[in-house]
Every structure is written in structure tokens, then in C-alpha cells.
């Protein structure tokens, strides 16, 4: 007997047909960018008037556009992005895990209010405060510096929330036993709680990394100087100039997308689970 909940063959065909069309629309621009970045400079674009489908497939695959990147501002921008992202991940993990631990392990006055403020801080999109924050950073004398890009992004309500959820799932007896054995709270946090939380550490690292790797509005405002331009800013700048180096633009854009996508695909399950849990639970 067939499963009564199973759809009819016609419905299944309709479903897969529709999904294929939608998935094609989503993936085609990315696939085109990737292929074009691997084709010889002269084949990247074809004039609209003599378009042909076969022209979308490069005659040969080459890395020449990627090699040419070394002579552009891309290595500098990639270095800036890497410095900013790594510093944010390292500092952000320590600072936010500590706060998450405090919310999970201790009872103290004002805990509920403080936690509501933490949650509110990540429900407010960062873009909303970019301009007043710029006024502050300018008063600090931080415009065009690494600290302008790193320091404001370290404390992160979403990451605090994730760590709190995890640490709250560890029975308090665990900490209690360690206390009786004479361990300090610093030791309990570093040697007991943090090692147990490695899945959260992995997700949080990825989220902090992507937040920096992908950020655009704040770097444009706070550090637009070429010496401090991160990848997103450098690429956007290149497309706004009268463009001749198409190969460089395609390969740098594709590289920036791929470097952001690989960590996402690797940790997709963990990432999506915590994201949705944060939003709906």
C-alpha cells in the first residue's frame, strides 16, 4: 500500500520542476561569475548584441586573472580583512564566552534586565548606529585604523546568547564539584566549561569571522583609506572606477565570495541550527 501522505507523481514532478527553475535562478549568477573569472580576459564579457549561449562557456580554463591579482590592491585588502577578522574572532570568543558563562552559572542582581539588553543589542541591526558611532570614533581619533574596524565588533549580543544557551545546559553540580575541589572560577571557566563548548566555539568563530569578512557599511564609513580598505570596500571601489581590468574585478569578487562561502558550507548545519534557535525559540 502506498503512503497516504506521499504526493502524487504529478505533484512530485511539479515540485521538482519548480525547485529546479528557482535553484537555477539562484545559482546561475554565481556559476557565471566563477566561470568568467576562469576564462581568458578577452572572453569574460560578450557584447549584448551578439550573445550566444556557447559564449558563456570559456574556450579554455586559465588562472591568469588570479595571477594578475597579485599586482593589484587585492593582496593588501585581503591582508586587512584577515587581520580584522582574526583579531575579532580571538577577542570576541573570550569576551563573549565569559559573559555567556556569567549569565548561565551565576545569579546576581539585575541579571534579567542585563540579559534583555544583550538580546535587544543584537535585534537592532548594526547599520542603524553606523553614523553616530562614526561621530564617536572620530572623537577618539580612530578614523582609518585597525581598531576602528575591530574594537566595536568584539562584544556581540548574539554570541553571548549562544554561549549562555550552551553553558546553561551544563548541570551546575559540575561547577559545584570543582569548587569543592578548590578550583577558582577562572579555572572552571577555562578548563571545564570552555572545552565542553567546542561546537558553540566553532559556530561563534564562524559568525564573528563572517560578520567582519562581509561587513561593508561600517568599513566604508570608518576606514575608507586604501591602506585600511578591507576586501568589500576595495572591490566596490574598483567597480566604481572606470573599469578596464575586468579580469581582476571578476577574480577578486569570486575569490571573496568563495572565501566567505567555504567556512559557511563546512559548518552549515551548526550555523543554521543556532541561527534559527536564536530567532524562534
Amino acid at each position: 500500500m502506498t503512503d497516504p501522505l506521499a504526493p502524487s507523481p504529478l505533484m512530485a514532478m511539479l515540485r521538482y520542476g519548480l525547485l529546479s527553475v528557482l535553484a537555477f535562478c539562484v545559482a546561475a549568477p554565481l556559476a557565471w561569475l566563477c566561470l568568467a573569472s576562469l576564462s581568458p580576459q578577452s572572453e569574460i564579457f560578450q557584447p549584448v548584441s551578439d550573445f550566444s549561449w556557447s559564449g558563456l562557456i570559456p574556450s579554455r580554463l586559465t588562472l591568469e586573472n588570479y595571477r594578475a591579482l597579485m599586482q593589484t590592491d587585492f593582496p593588501m585588502a585581503a591582508k586587512n580583512s584577515a587581520i580584522v577578522a582574526l583579531a575579532t574572532v580571538v577577542c570576541g570568543l573570550v569576551v563573549n564566552a565569559m559573559a555567556g558563562f556569567a549569565f548561565a552559572a551565576f545569579d546576581f542582581r539585575g541579571k534579567t534586565l542585563l540579559f534583555v539588553l544583550v538580546v535587544a543589542s543584537f535585534m537592532m541591526p548594526f547599520e542603524a548606529i553606523v553614523l553616530p558611532l562614526y561621530v564617536m570614533i572620530r572623537a577618539f581619533g580612530w578614523v582609518n585604523s585597525y581598531q576602528a574596524l575591530i574594537v566595536p565588533e568584539i562584544a556581540n549580543g548574539m554570541i553571548i546568547f549562544l554561549f549562555r544557551q550552551f553553558f546553561a545546559s551544563i548541570p551546575k553540580d559540575y561547577y559545584e564539584a570543582a569548587r569543592i575541589d578548590g578550583a577558582s572560577w577562572g579555572y572552571i571557566f577555562l578548563r571545564i566549561a570552555l572545552p565542553l563548548s567546542w561546537p558553540t566555539v566553532a559556530t561563534a568563530s564562524l559568525m564573528l569571522f563572517l560578520a567582519q569578512w562581509d561587513s561593508f557599511f561600517w568599513p566604508v564609513v570608518a576606514a575608507s583609506d586604501p591602506d585600511y580598505a578591507v576586501i568589500q570596500v576595495a572591490i566596490a571601489r574598483n567597480i566604481n572606477f572606470e573599469q578596464t581590468n575586468w579580469g581582476g574585478l571578476f577574480s577578486s569578487t569570486n575569490l571573496a565570495i568563495v572565501l566567505g562561502t567555504i567556512p559557511f558550507l563546512l559548518t552549515q548545519r551548526l550555523y543554521v541550527r543556532s541561527l534559527v534557535a536564536g530567532g524562534i525559540k
Binding site: 525547485l19 535553484a23 545559482a27 549568477p29 573570550v94 553614523l131 562584544a155
Partner: protein, 288 residues
């Protein structure tokens, strides 16, 4: 358990200090700064309600507000509807579904800035492949972001390309939370698939859908990067949303007071949205 009164605050201090200075202080700065003006020497001085008086009599601000509202009235229901369609299509297990699921969420790993760059290339009027395809199909090349009538639609399309898969994930979680027994009971009572969808699925999805709508609105009220990269607010001011208007006040016209007044206005709208979100996130049982 034994710990001193100060232990919790030692653990909290760095993070709370960071949030206080870099998330909450800017709100105060926006509010306070919106009552000040920049003198010719570059110093800030108190200007009372001057910035707001200017703003409310400035047609550019009203245009920008109108554009932002229209943008949101279209894009948020559109993204919700598409995300819901995708979630319904992906929800039932099936052969190869995970491939579609991965492809559909892929754009969420592409930053907003890079998706704008990507589509600037795809839609290029002379060399872009989409216009080539449209010519080939006999429809003819379109100006897209270069024409006032099409620019807003183009931006909505790009943002939806990036956003639909992301919001689908939240709705999928909502679909998974509907107990299978509820659907089976409806089956036994002889409900058709359409009736099951309309009378069981849809009412039970109200909360996740409301959450997506509200959270999406919060993000789209602050839409910026694609405007900056693709249109610069044009053509003819057609895409000058509020966030871009605020940016331009600060960096093109050096009018920090106006920029902060618009920021304060946006923050007030966001405050309302966040309160709504908090109410949606509380479970129905503890809502009185």
C-alpha cells in the same frame, strides 16, 4: 554556590562595556547630536529642534521617506511569500532535496556588498549576460538600475535573491515544529491537501511568519550597500532610501546634525519593531 558578589561582574565587564560603548552609547549620541549643528569652524553647538524643523520642511526627506516605505511595503511581503513557497517545496523529504536546499541558501553566504557587485556585472547594459539573454529571447535589453522606473525593482530583485533562502530556514524550522499527528488527524477526518494547507499548516505558521516579516522589515528599513554600489541614490533620486540619505548628509554635505536626525528617526522606528519582535518571541503560554 559560593562566589563573591563581584565574580559575575568580573566575567561580564568586558562584554557589557563593549555593548554599552559601541551599541548603546551611539543611540544616545544620535539623539543628542540631532539637536546640534556644525558651525563653520567644525565645532558642534546646540541647535535645539533646528535639524528636525529643517528635515520636516525638506522635500528631499519626504521623498526619501516615501521611497523607503514603498520599498518596504513591496519587498517584505514578497520575501515572505517566496520564502514560504521555498519552505513548502523543500519541507517534505525527497531524493536530492538537500542539493536544492544547499543551492537555495547559498546566497546567504554572499555579502550584501558582493551581491550588488555581482549583479552590477550580470546586469551591465552593454556586456552583461542577462541583457544578452533578453536580446536573444526577443524581449530586448533593459536598462535595469540605470533607469528611474526600473532601479527600485532591480534593487528589490537583488535583495530577494540574497534573502529568500535565508528566511526560508526560519519557516522550515516552523514547519518542522508542527506535530505530524496534527496533519494525520486532519487526513483521517478526510481533509484534502488544500484544506490541510489552509486550515492546519497556515494557522500554525502564523508566528514564524510574523517573526520573519518583522525581522526582515528591521533589516530592510536600513537598506544601504546596494544603493551605494549600484545607483548612488539615483537615477533622479529614485532609490534614495533613508539610510543612504543619512549617509549622504554626513559625507557629501558634511551635515552631521541632519545625518543624526535621520538616524534618530530610523532608531525610533526600529525600537517599535524590536518591541514587536520581543512579543513574538515570547511563547504564547506566557502572553497574557
Amino acid at each position: 554556590m559560593n562566589y563573591s558578589r563581584w565574580t559575575p561582574f568580573l566575567f561580564l565587564a568586558p562584554a557589557l562595556a563593549g555593548l554599552a560603548v559601541f551599541r548603546f552609547a551611539p543611540i544616545v549620541v544620535a539623539g543628542a547630536g540631532s539637536f546640534s549643528g556644525m558651525t563653520l569652524t567644525g565645532a558642534l553647538e546646540f541647535a535645539g529642534l533646528e535639524n528636525y524643523r529643517w528635515l520636516l520642511t525638506d522635500p528631499a526627506f519626504w521623498d526619501s521617506l516615501r521611497i523607503t516605505l514603498i520599498f518596504n511595503l513591496i519587498i517584505n511581503p514578497l520575501q515572505l511569500a517566496l520564502a514560504f513557497l521555498l519552505a513548502m517545496l523543500i519541507f517534505q523529504p525527497g531524493r536530492g532535496i538537500w542539493v536544492y536546499r544547499t543551492l537555495l541558501v547559498l546566497p546567504m553566504a554572499v555579502s550584501t556588498g558582493l551581491s550588488a557587485v555581482l549583479f552590477k556585472l550580470v546586469l551591465d547594459p552593454n556586456l552583461g549576460p542577462l541583457n544578452g539573454i533578453l536580446e536573444w529571447a526577443g524581449i530586448g535589453a533593459q536598462p535595469f538600475y540605470r533607469a528611474a522606473e526600473q532601479a527600485m525593482g532591480t534593487l528589490i530583485g537583488i535583495a530577494t535573491w540574497k534573502g529568500a533562502g535565508y528566511w526560508m530556514l526560519f519557516l522550515l524550522a516552523g514547519l518542522h515544529a508542527i506535530p505530524a499527528s496534527v496533519q494525520e488527524a486532519a487526513m483521517i477526518d478526510g481533509a484534502t491537501p488544500w484544506q490541510r494547507f489552509r486550515l492546519v499548516t497556515l494557522p500554525l505558521m502564523r508566528r514564524p511568519m510574523a517573526f520573519v516579516l518583522v525581522a526582515d522589515t528591521a533589516i530592510n528599513f536600513l537598506f544601504f550597500a546596494p544603493v551605494y554600489i549600484l545607483t548612488g541614490g539615483g537615477p533622479n533620486g529614485a532609490t534614495s532610501v533613508l539610510m543612504f540619505e543619512a549617509y549622504r548628509s554626513a559625507f557629501t554635505f558634511s551635515d552631521i546634525g541632519r545625518a543624526l536626525a535621520i538616524s534618530s528617526f530610523l532608531l525610533a522606528i526600529l525600537a517599535v519593531i524590536i518591541v514587536l519582535e520581543f512579543r513574538l518571541m515570547r511563547s504564547p503560554e506566557d502572553r497574557r
